[in-house]
Amino acid sequence: MTAPIREHTGRGPLGKDEIAARIARDIPAGSYVNLGIGQPTLVADHLGPGAGVVLHTENGMLGMGPAATGDEIDPDLTNAGKVPVTELPGAAYFHHADSFAMMRGGHLDVCVLGAFQVSAHGDLANWHTGAPDAIPAVGGAMDLAIGAKQVFVMMTLFAKDGTAKLVRECTYPLTGLRCVSRLYTDLAVFELGAEGAVVVETFGISYDELAARLDVPLRAA
């Protein structure tokens, strides 16, 4: 059961790094985790060696270590963002069909993804803006969205133009249906599902103010 809502109004919104730290707190020890390209990679900085978490990168590795520097850089060892990384003791390499079997087959515990939009029921839009001149590129986003046991999304709650990214129905092309279980933003943490959006925690805003700014029915945990 979810704990009662916690409103942190005596502070400002969370920064990117604070959102990453908040997500890391919700990843249980012993989890196999995939961190999406971009901001979700920040979560790794808050999963210390004692966290007991094994990182998966979909290009074919479990036991991924931190980014490589200097002499550690090896063009044959990169993450899904094509950034050179390192291997930890106990690491394993595998080919792409096995790597995605780990997702699709339900073996991965958590993935953390960025998003353009998320619906209150957990629909995800994060691969394509639908703009007519945009070149579509999906990568592993759809596989991750439907594959991991829990899909966490990390994003700002509002776009730069002020529009909310938590919506009743996504208007951008979908990545996956009813797949996001938790949404972590600068202003609030939500649980999403068939019952709609439940606010778990707020930062720099009260529940009532949050509800007034979103066109989505909310419930307080």
Partner: protein, 226 residues
């Protein structure tokens, strides 16, 4: 049986116009750049290329695209910061694109190599990439029907082969190599070194030689021969 070729030109000989060519690699890791350069010299055109990306920078797959040899690209992630060759061709309508989710791409290749006629896959259900495809609910979950992708030729980079074609790969450069090697009529592999039979421990062989038709040694340029 596996032939050890003397040159990359010999390794890619005979690729016909209109072929479907599977090209391994994830970005530049595992990309068989020297085999692609040989295909450019070989001259085949009107090709369909199946690869995770659609070329980076101006070398490898990007150079093949720039040479005007490719009619169609099947990939998961064409758009990158350094995919200017593909971007230009696409925006001017000179190349066709089929975007496939990365895991579905791998599984369609695996299916081709394993003799599977088609399979139901949960990835992409309810998204634009499932439009027009047959769907089915199995045990309460929705799936999309996906078909195999078979290649006429696969171009793969591995770390070491032995003379009978057994392959080992290196770190995340393995990526699509093992599945693509199974999925083509003719599989061509560039390796850093060729060993004698028995030099590779049978327990660590990743791709058995039955899937490998031609091997050619190309010393690695990026320090990956150790």
């Amino acid at each position: 049986m596996t032939t050890v070729c003397e040159s990359t030109d010999e390794a890619v000989a005979g690729i016909e116009d209109g072929s479907t060519v599977l090209i391994g690699g994830f970005g530049m890791a595992g990309m068989p750049v020297d085999l692609i350069d040989a295909v450019i010299r070989q001259g085949a055109e009107d090709l369909t290329i199946v690869s995770n990306n659609a070329g980076n920078g101006d070398t490898g797959l990007a150079a093949l695209l720039a040479a005007g040899r490719v009619r169609r690209v099947v990939c998961s992630f064409p758009r990158q910061s350094d995919s200017w060759v593909f971007d230009g061709l696409y925006r001017s309508g000179r190349i066709e694109l089929e975007v496939v989710p990365q895991g579905t791409l791998a599984e369609r290749l695996r299916a081709a190599g394993a003799g599977i006629g088609a399979f139901f896959c949960p990835t992409g259900v309810g998204t634009p990439l499932a439009e027009g495809k047959e769907t089915r609910v199995i045990d309460g979950r929705a799936y999309v029907l996906e078909y195999p992708i078979k290649g006429d030729v696969a171009l793969v980079k591995a770390h070491v082969a032995d003379r009978v074609g057994n392959l080992v790969y290196r770190k995340t450069a393995r990526n699509f190599g093992p599945v693509m090697a199974t999925a083509a009529t003719t599989t061509v592999v560039q390796v850093g070194a060729v060993a004698e039979p028995g030099d590779i421990d049978p327990e660590v062989v990743v791709t058995p030689g039955i899937f490998v038709d031609r091997v050619v040694v190309v010393p690695d340029r990026a320090g990956a021969t150790s």
